[in-house]
């Protein structure tokens, strides 16, 4: 059974349809990139997958025993405030909350897992630093470590590279790719950069307030819509 199955799903805000006609499947170990222009409904779909937004129609089914508390998430723009006083470790370990549940404090194992993920993403040396004093790229890595703390199965990333310079962007894409290869974690990523998407992902979902394409990357680059989008650059 697929990890996530969407069937004829649509979302709307106050009666206005944001995106509809979504039907796709995500399997264990997939790396799916969601592409599309601004306002095409990418973040909306992700909110739906996270159960922050109810579908207007259709059904989203989680398979393979995937629970809501087993999803890691990297938001497009962190809802957190810029000047929040918190150390990187405090932020990363807060990703362990869902597995710790009602038990008070974090266990030694939680601390070890948080440190391990910070190490994996190359930010262990920033452990005790204040989050607000980091560069944009470092901040994204810390938030990615937090997302990893929350999941072993499924990572949802909403434009993880927005606002980063090309070098740092390439590094972060590489890190995500390594992560997927080494741990077999399923990744659903929203990206503006369609070239990076076809380079890294093995499935593409192209949205424009409806589903223009869903399928393997190899097929996408052969389709009319895929070629047109790639020619335009897709990099807005």
């Amino acid at each position: 059974m697929a990890l996530i199955t969407c069937k004829d799903v649509s979302f709307s805000y106050e009666g206005n349809v944001a995106v509809d006609g979504l039907s796709f499947e995500v399997n264990q170990g997939d790396y799916l990139c969601i592409v599309g222009e601004n306002g095409s409904g990418k973040s909306t779909l992700m909110k739906g997958l996270l159960d922050l937004l109810r579908p207007k129609t259709g059904t989203i089914t989680m398979g393979d025993g995937l629970k809501q508390t087993q999803i890691g998430y990297l938001p497009q723009q962190s809802a957190a405030q810029k000047d929040f006083p918190a150390s990187c470790f405090e932020i990363v370990i807060s990703g362990r909350l869902n597995s710790r549940g009602i038990m008070p404090f974090y266990s030694r194992i939680d601390r070890m897992i948080a440190s391990a993920h910070m190490d994996q993403l190359g930010v262990i040396s920033l452990r005790n630093k204040s989050f607000r004093e980091l560069s944009g790229g470092q901040q994204q890595r810390v938030l990615l470590a937090r997302a990893l703390c929350a999941t072993e199965k499924l990572l949802l990333l909403d434009e993880p590279v927005s606002g980063l310079d090309p070098l740092v962007t390439a590094e972060l894409y590489q890190t995500i790719q390594d992560l997927q290869r080494d741990t077999g974690i399923t990744i659903i990523m929203i990206s503006h950069d369609v070239h990076a998407a076809v380079e890294h992902a093995n499935h593409i979902l192209h949205l424009q307030n409806k589903q223009l394409f869903f399928g393997p990357t190899a097929e996408y680059v052969e389709t009319e819509v895929g070629r047109r989008f790639l020619r335009k650059g897709g990099d807005f």
């Binding site: 996270l50 159960d51 922050l52 629970k67 809501q68 508390t69 087993q70 999803i71 890691g72 998430y73 938001p75 962190s78 809802a79 957190a80 405030q81 929040f84 006083p85 918190a86 150390s87 405090e90 932020i91 807060s94 990703g95 909350l97 869902n98 710790r100 008070p104 404090f105 974090y106 005790n128 204040s130 607000r132 004093e133 937090r146 929350a150 999941t151 949802l156």
Partner: protein
């Protein structure tokens, strides 16, 4: 005239009075609760809710005083004020939740309306006597033995709940969307925060005054944030600041015969200015 030069004698003398011992015990516990919750309130932009609750508390207290007159004394104000303020806390939370833009104004409306209701009741019953001034600006004389016991039990419960749910409160304060997306019942913990704040406001209101209690939640957190960069250190520093400021404020109040609530707030203000100065100098250096 007494001066601070005889500090040790003054402190010993202070502790001779039963009402002082009670006031200091309760005040220290309430300051601690207020400072801890205050860090979350300030960072979650809920500081206004604390202020608003204290105004609701004023109305509730005036009503309680009215009931007092009717049933003739020996009646704890907590039984009226606590449920009313807790209810108001949930109502305010829902208001600021449902209507992101107008939530702010709604909170201000609740604030001023409760003040108005309180003032109307006062004018129709007792008039602006010393009791009412005590409610507004605080008084340390008002506590019965039962009040003290109840205050100690409640504030220790608040502290315990805060410590037990520290990590949830952090997660919800830092990034509500992430917490919700990963399956945390965000609303439950926001309600917990509102509830604990309501209890703290009611406990501290008698001594600090309805118009001043909210400052106990805001000042220590703001001062601590001037210097600390980690959440836990902000929390701990705020707690230390709050307890110290309360004690210093009480000594000043006793020595120079100042209103206790106002003295504590003035000391908090001084610390805030001092810490801001240090932060500025650090920023330049």
């Amino acid at each position: 005239m007494e001066t601070l030069f005889e500090l040790d004698r003054i402190i010993v003398e202070m502790f001779d009075f039963l009402f002082m011992r009670r006031a200091i015990l309760v005040g220290l516990l309430v300051s601690l609760c207020a400072a801890l919750l205050g860090v979350n309130l300030v960072l979650k932009r809920y500081a206004m809710i604390g202020t608003s609750l204290s105004h609701v508390g004023f109305a509730a207290m005036v009503i309680a005083t009215g009931i007092d007159l009717a049933v003739e004394r020996e009646f704890s104000h907590f039984f009226v004020t606590l449920p009313m303020v807790v209810l108001a806390a949930f109502a305010l939370l829902l208001l600021s939740e449902n209507n992101k833009i107008k939530g702010d104004s709604a909170v201000a409306l609740v604030s001023t309306s409760s003040l108005a209701i309180g003032i109307i009741i006062v004018s129709q019953t007792t008039g602006l006597n010393t009791d009412v001034c005590g409610v507004m600006f605080g008084s340390i004389l008002a506590m019965t033995r039962f009040d003290v016991q109840l205050s100690v039990v409640l504030s220790i419960s608040v502290l315990t709940l805060f410590v037990l749910f520290y990590k949830q409160l952090f997660a919800v304060t830092y990034d509500e969307t992430f917490a919700k997306a990963t399956g945390t019942k965000v609303f439950v913990y926001k309600a917990l925060l509102a509830f604990l704040t309501a209890v703290t406001v009611v406990l501290g209101m008698r001594m600090m005054g309805a118009l001043l209690i909210a400052s106990l939640t805001i000042f220590p957190a703001l001062s601590a944030m001037r210097l600390c960069k980690r959440f836990l250190s902000v929390v701990i520093t705020a707690a230390i600041i709050a307890v110290t400021c309360f004690f210093v404020g009480m000594v000043l109040s006793y020595t120079y015969n100042l209103p206790p609530g106002a003295s504590v707030v003035a000391v908090n203000l001084t610390v805030f200015v001092f810490f801001s100065g240090i932060a500025l100098m650090k920023g330049r250096g």
